[in-house]
Symmetry: D2
């Protein structure tokens, strides 16, 4: 794979997932950005909207129709939900591979998807072939996929946190709990009142307790791991920071296992999952800006509550939870070393 | 009770609990502040340390020995742990009533206290008579108490959140979970690296998962409510905001109850507990600066997880979680209307 | 003036100025809130939008036409610019007094106003009689005013900061500089991208350097104080906090004066201006939630730069910079002690 | 220069400057980290203190005496002030080049330094030969220097902002004003009360108005540029964010110049200074994590204030204001392309 040889189009580059994807692609040695589309901002230099990209790209946003996406090797969708499902069939037909960072191809059950996303799905046949892009589970399939459904941010942190326990059959899968906290960038770059600094700063709240779209996505993944239906309580919270997800996971052990060894072994070959030493408390800033999930395993108050395990799992929602994982998937799909272009050090403080 | 007639001494007024107590007392119609002690800051006007008090008090910090605390009607300890236990016996003997906002008298089990607080207790006899100052549980005893142990911040939010469920015998008390998030002021006004803005801002982390001093305090309270030992997993987290605690509580129902009605009925007469409408998500800022616990009750994903209940409980850690509850206890002890001096509106935004 | 006797209507209570006004009015002993209007939210209980008001008011937003505002003693406009100018004439005719917290009546020069606010003014005759509501300058006129133009937030902090120097004729009024920093609530409760937490947090920027609407308002006030035209450079900045304005003011002295004495004397009788001791650095949080301007006067590096003075002036933009000053004006207009209902202590930390 | 061939020692790697330097050096293609010293933390793996470095370095902190610094090609001092001045003479004698990120060698006037830093200088002879490491001014001297005094954070932003104006002789250098705002990491990773999140968050304040150590450093630099003594008012402020400095600079023009052209021309060949388009307002986050100074030039209210210019200059205080500039200096000293290892994209949002 020679330098700058993968021709890449990005559909919808004006949101946080988009700018983060561009941040990673402009320094990726094999990525050749050819077009970034935006209906609303066509004509504007990308660097005018995102000044961190000044000097890194001269591209302007273009109308989708003018982007010649069918000449790309790979198209990323960094769009709202419901766009990729319309455009992907023609791209696939043209031989273009697709990574959708939105949710269009994440659920295998189209009816379930339609009930949560309040749309009729435009391409159920793509759903069928799409590969859920969690490399730690589906690496081989991703390598050959024409269409990859990039996982959601909460689902990435929760699934990677529960994975070893569930694969080992070590917990009661009827009473899993995921208490998750997200930075505000998870809500996207949309003008809304509840994510204004004056609303969301110096404040903490749960939201979507009765139901959140990421619940069925997580449940689908855990069910696949368990080989049987699982039941999960998922409580998302909004925390006053820009980036980061901290998932605190609770499960009841059904048999004795060496938890630390279990996790270390399962993730021994994974570049982008870091199992912390026993007793650690990973903080979200330790993964700020990098494609990494840090996990710590706890068995608290063992004397009094003999059967509970607590897992702490942190990611940067925009990187391992979105754009970084998308680049990781791209690397896998194009036969590159998986860490290509993902060698940043987290920004701390 | 005439105006400004309760003579009050405050021991240790240089921390956040101290300044918050002063904020409430300087506008309290019945409180006559007579002395504020600080060994380290003796001689400094209180308003020089806390400019929000400029114009509200001319008091200076004085040495404890110069404070004539034995002439007070009531002494608040807003000190580090281990001070009140030394000074309280003499005050009680002098007829002074005491509210300790620190932890010295919170545990009935002195041995347990000593193991968590790493000190030998100086006055076990006071422990025996001290009343745990959670008015919603112990109002009558508080009224007559000579010594009140003001509850911790986490314990207030968690106990008020679980109270109706446990009193009703409606949940499995062997597997309670309290996932709690606190603003940084909960760590106090101590110079420490991990609570610097550059460390704690734009970051989220759990801490003390293997064990936290508030766990046995909560367990003691829940056990008393349940009439039998309870088991609790308690996971505290640090969230990048100044004030506020959000406790997300999980329990398995053991019988069907009308949760909303249960909570509304239990707290119908409580001025400082607000049960939100069904489906609500209280935010911590809605209680910023006020003596109030807001609670919402959820039964999420009922179709899939039939037996789990989620309780959201928020307080301002410095008010209902510390100084405000202390003033509430003072009002009860001195026969005042319970809301005297506590009629602020939360500061929002 | 008996209890709860001033019948008050609030037009446009859904923004930050509105909720802050309500926070102050619900505990004001003489204010009887009779109507709060909102076209968009008619029918919604005010406390559903602003949970800090739960328990403090049962009012619902109503259509303006249903509000019977002409039966009020006083109507506050907490609306966007351009509303009060339309509704005020009829109210004045009906004998209702008006305080506009927006900008409609602040400029005496209607043409200038129209050029900055991009609207044709609907009631120039009201402009003529309206009194600029800066009590420290116009108290007597405010007492008798039918219409008060409540000052802007930046203009309050900058004018109070420069006032003593300019009245004393002590500075070069051709080269005044106001470098001002505001919290994000100053931008209002509007859904906009640039004030999202993910945009404005952990960030600092200037804006409006080429020109800002508050510049001519400040210049008008300073010109009146000076008795001659003044020239001012005004640089507003957005700082990542909710509330607060910090104005750093620079001027060249044209004669020697005892600066500290000058300021202390000028504001000796002002309840809501606090001149700090020499050498002090007021922080914005020291006035969080209260109707107060804190000022410190500096003469730095006197040996090297003999003629420069630096003034630090802080307010809470929503209180002394908006709703609190409006209540102060109401108190003056209705003959109440000026501090009625404004006796809060700043929330610190 | 082959890969990893510069043997590097870091003295004092436990502060923010230290960790930032390590972040940059671990991915620098020519830097071979051989030792990181810390008296207090000797034996601790660096990655245990700074989890963002987990997986990037196995180094442990060592005692200075065990570090074999005299075998290095280059030693960075990321220490408190007063260390480098003691250790540098021996290193220089051993043929080791030195970059001091602290202040020991910044002032040419040793007496002045001693009066501001309250220490007797241990090596005035090093002061004499040390080169002030602002590459945009002193590039050639830096290339040959044995000892480089890395500039302070405020001084970098202020000097780069004023430089073209002063070199062009276009402004009154008797009345320069620098109103500067810094994130809290500028205060370092020291346990202090005033930089706690609960103190510094949601707050804004000036500090050091009567005098700040960076004032004489800036004045020395501007004086050198001007060829005559300059007078400057310097007002630093603390703003509630982690990283970033925003300097707002004011000067009176003494002749007409095309400001935009002046700046663009002066910095045309500078990789790490970005002159923004006319009318722009650079935000600090646009340089978060990168070695870049962004500058915008304004001539506001030209009609009313004919002679004032306003310069906006932003940097990341830990990068272009400290560790990044140090690496830039290293690159120059060792004949590397100046941007080696400094090709990050700013993290936004």
């Amino acid at each position: 794979m020679s330098e700058k040889s993968i021709k890449i189009g990005v559909v919808g580059g004006t949101g946080y997932t988009g700018v983060e994807l561009l941040r990673l692609l402009v320094t990726h040695p094999n990525a050749k950005l050819t077009a970034i589309t935006s209906r609303s901002e066509a004509g504007m230099p990308v660097a005018d909207m995102f000044p961190n990209l000044r000097g890194w790209t001269d591209l302007k946003f273009v109308e989708p129709s003018a982007a010649a996406l069918d000449k790309c090797d790979l198209v990323f969708f960094a769009t709202p939900n419901g766009i990729a499902m319309k455009d992907t069939p023609a791209l696939v037909k043209a031989g273009v591979r697709v990574i959708d960072i939105a949710a269009d191809f994440r659920f295998k059950d189209v009816k379930l998807w339609e009930s949560w996303y309040k749309m009729t799905h435009a391409s159920p046949e793509i759903v069928e072939e799409a590969v859920y892009g969690l490399p730690e589970v589906n690496r081989a399939k991703i390598a050959n996929a024409r269409v990859v459904a990039n996982p959601g941010c909460y689902p990435t942190s929760v699934q990677l946190g529960f994975l070893p326990l569930i694969e080992a059959g070590a917990v009661d899968t009827e009473h899993l709990i995921a208490d998750a906290k997200s930075g505000v960038s998870g809500a996207g770059r949309k003008a809304e009142v509840h994510t204004l600094l004056a609303e969301a700063s110096d404040n903490f709240k749960a939201y979507g307790v009765p139901g959140h779209r990421h619940l069925p996505e997580i449940t689908q993944g855990l069910t696949q791991m368990a080989g049987k239906p699982v039941k999960l309580i998922f409580t998302p919270h909004l925390t006053p920071m820009i980036r980061g997800i901290h998932a605190t996971l609770y499960a009841r052990l059904t048999k004795e296992v060496d938890l630390q060894a279990l996790y270390e072994k399962r993730y021994a070959d994974e570049t982008f999952v870091d199992v912390m030493p026993a007793g650690a408390h990973p903080d979200t800033r330790s993964v700020r800006g990098v494609n990494l999930c840090r996990i710590a395993v706890h068995r608290p108050h063992r004397e009094s509550c003999t059967d509970m395990v607590v897992i702490l799992s942190v990611i940067d929602n925009l990187v391992k939870g979105a754009a970084g994982q998308a680049v990781q998937n791209m690397n896998i799909m194009f036969g590159l070393p998986e860490a290509t272009g993902l060698n940043q050090v987290a920004l701390l403080p």
